[in-house]
Amino acid sequence: MTQQLLVELQDVSVKAKSRQVSEGVFLLQCIDLSIRQGEWISVLGMNGSGKSTLCKLLAGIHPFEISGAVLVGAEGKRSDILPGAAPIVMQHPDAGLIGSTPWEDVVLMLERHGFPEKEIINRAEEALYEVGLGERLHQKIETLSGGQKQLAAIAGCLAVAPSMLLLDEPTAMLDAEASAYVLSRVRRLHESGVTVVWVTQLVEELNALDRVLLLDKGRIVFDEPAHHLFSGGESGQSPGEHYGFVPPYGVQAARELMNRGIVLKPMPINRRELEQAVKHYGS
């Protein structure tokens, strides 16, 4: 872990501000968390577990009351709000886009973030190429699929060069294919060095080596690699199942293989990993 520390939260609790519906309720409690450059963090949790709040906190948008320490950057500067706010990609593919083409949208985003005028167009086009929309710069937004719209939103976020890419259930409103496409694109961005915080309710979207933050009632109850999520004892005893998640196909198959004396390491989570593990077993 020699990578640069981006953010550190020490014993941070978050309450809704007055006049909000959930006034005075703790949305997050006693959060200890540090995020390093280049990490992939999957935030897993049921509805109302505090995933979105955590995302907003990291983005620097917070209509909250915060206690505890937020340290930013390698020197650990103390801060009560995260500067250089990172944009979030939200669930609804249509909601966040205001340009009528991907190109317009990203340009508008850069303008709003106050980038130097001369850089804007280059930056915008670069980001769009990076997410795979290079061919569709000037295609009308309404002719894009849901997945492509999400990629356009992701390009906008990338273009403003945030310290990390925050995605709050970006696949929740997409069908299976589009979800897989968006996920694979973001995985590719991560391989090129982008720090990613991916919020999800779907275990199938995890990779075995992802760092998983499992949130339950506003607390982080699990902060380990994904392949530990369903390991440990008999079925029903693992942390994942304890918090109500059904083991995905990869895990079920790996468990059955384990019962027959074949141990796949690390334990595959999704089907692609299962396939890989089976292919390379014993070789």
């Binding site: 205001i98 340009g99 069908d175 074949i262």
Partner: protein, 542 residues
């Protein structure tokens, strides 16, 4: 259900649904389905698979009469779905036999309790009051909806509960045909099992179902046929396209046996089979980039027809120049010249505004009526052309000006309009006028309008499907019910939008606006200006 009812249902549905060579056009132009044919038998379940945008939802909606057929016919038993002259009306008897659940229809509620919501679906069937409540409770029961929830506001139910309510709304009508769009999306394992039970029961009593799905695994065991939508047509699925999801235990057993035998060849075979579990879905993902909303888009548009071709300021100037010349015209010769100019300039842009035909038609009709009224003479009642002529000239002029303006809507995007306004009125900022904020607002409004229309379209379809409306439009009584939920839905949309914009950093106000992109008139603008000048010369000389 008694045997008598089963027989009655079989007779009623006439055994099968047949669709012959249907073609469906998209509202925005282009073809969604082309020459699609299929037969669905009652007492069987059909799965529709195919890539996103392949037309699965379109097919289901067409089968429910929610989309007009550009060609072809759909028969339920002996009855055609559409009837009347030029298929102007739906066959209500057929509509009563089918129940459709569209995607996201579970979040469009019209009533204030779940019970009333189910009763609303039942209304077109004019069921006797005494048995209505029995039907509703039993439908809720078979959909797995807790009886305690029936008095709750549908919007306050959880996502899973709302899906069950949607299913109850469907089942209460006991339709012979169930048309389901992605019924398993977002359901957990228990939910999927219950759905399979409901479908098995439906099939057992002789009902038919057509189900569009992305995850055929969940319902494959029940299915009698699997059809693929591909390139706008329908074909039977090949074996390789069917997911073969092996139980984890069975798969582990085979793999373990193979490894223990250290039989290399056999191991390879097994690996191949495992890969094929994923094969279908992987190839779908790779192709994903190409899947579009419509099959054949208007890609033949000329290069200069896209919104980036012209500077909005030049377009505006050209339009103002020509229309002010038109205003000066007062003779039929002049109108003829104006017509020629309009034809020459707006004609090539026809693809950009051909979806405005209803407006053009409406305005022409209105003009004719006004001209006739202007020429009317009373006592004795007569029509005199001399009285109508001036009106006719004025209205023709206005009509041509309107048509000439229509391409502008397609040639300017909100963003470019915003930039044009920024650049034209930017100097006002010095006097404290928040120009950037205003232009941003305009841009947002333009972006929001299509979303509102889309949402309205979806509401309309849901209301038509649930009300079994046989006419093409939605009757006024239905509108009333739709309005409030629609308002609620768009408010939620606006809220989502505000949230998303804040999350993307648009909330921060800047003192000095930044413009990464500025409009610069180019060569095409010069041509446009020359064309406009030429048009003005023609108009002034006649």
């Amino acid at each position: 259900m008694e045997a008598k009812d089963v027989a009655a249902m079989k007779e009623q549905s006439g055994g099968e649904v047949r669709i012959f060579h249907i073609r469906i056009a998209a509202e925005t132009g282009g073809i969604l389905l082309n020459d699609a044919s299929a037969v669905f038998r009652s007492g069987t379940i059909t799965l529709l698979i195919g890539r996103n945008g392949a037309g699965k939802s379109t097919l289901l909606e067409s089968m429910a009469g929610l989309r007009e057929l550009a060609a072809g016919v759909i028969y339920y038993g002996q009855d055609s779905l559409w009837r009347g002259k030029r298929n102007s009306k739906l066959n209500r008897d057929v509509l009563l036999q089918l129940g459709i659940s569209m995607q996201q229809s579970q979040s469009q509620w019209f009533k204030s309790t779940a019970y009333e919501e189910i009763a609303y679906s039942l209304k077109p069937y004019s069921v006797a009051r005494e048995i209505q409540s029995d039907l509703i409770t039993s439908a809720a029961n078979s959909a797995g909806l807790d009886p305690d929830l029936l008095e709750r506001d549908p919007w306050s139910l959880s996502g899973g509960q709302q899906r069950r309510l949607a299913l109850a709304c469907l089942l209460v009508c006991s339709p012979a045909w169930l048309l389901l769009d992605e019924p398993t999306a977002g359901l957990d394992e228990t939910g999927k099992r219950r759905l399979a039970e409901v479908l098995a029961f439906h099939k057992g009593k002789g009902g038919g179902a057509v189900i569009a799905t992305h995850e055929p695994e969940a319902l494959l065991e029940l299915a009698d046929q699997v059809l693929v939508l591909d390139g706008g047509t329908i074909r039977a699925a090949e074996a390789s396209e069917l997911p073969r999801r092996e139980e984890p235990a069975a798969m582990a057993e085979r793999l373990a046996a193979a490894w223990h035998n250290k039989h290399q060849h056999q191991q390879q075979i097994l690996q191949g089979q495992l890969s094929s579990i994923n094969g279908a879905s992987i190839s779908l993902i790779q192709n994903r980039g190409d899947a579009g909303q419509v099959l054949a888009k208007d890609t033949a548009q000329a290069g200069w027809l896209h919104p980036h071709a012209f500077d909005p300021r030049v377009l505006m100037a050209a339009y103002l120049m020509i229309t002010s010349c038109m205003l000066a015209l007062g003779t039929w010769r002049g109108i003829a010249a104006a017509g020629a100019v309009t034809l020459a300039l707006a004609g090539p842009c026809w693809p950009l505004f051909k979806h405005w035909i209803p407006v053009i038609r409406g305005v022409s009709l209105l003009s004719v009526v006004l001209i006739v009224i202007a020429g009317l003479q009373f006592g004795p009642l007569a029509f005199q052309w001399s009285g109508a002529e001036a009106t006719a000239i004025t209205l023709s002029r206005l009509f041509l000006m309107m048509v000439l303006g229509m391409p502008l809507l397609g040639l300017v995007t909100p963003f470019r309009l915003q930039r044009a306004l920024d650049q034209t009125f930017g100097w006002l900022t010095r006097f404290g006028v928040p120009v950037a904020a205003f232009t941003m607002l305009i841009s947002l409004i333009f972006r929001f309008i299509p979303l509102l229309m889309e949402e309205w379209g979806r509401f309309r379809r849901v209301a038509k499907a649930r009300g079994k409306v046989a006419s093409k439009g939605v009757p006024l009584s239905q509108m009333k019910v739709m309005l409030l939920p629609y308002m609620r839905s768009i408010l939620r949309l606006a809220e989502n939008m505000a949230d998303a914009l804040e999350a993307r950093g648009f909330g921060v106000q800047r003192k000095k606006p930044v413009y990464g992109f500025r409009l610069r008139p180019g060569r095409s603008d010069l041509w446009l200006l020359l064309a406009a000048l030429g048009a003005c010369a023609v108009l002034l000389l006649v």
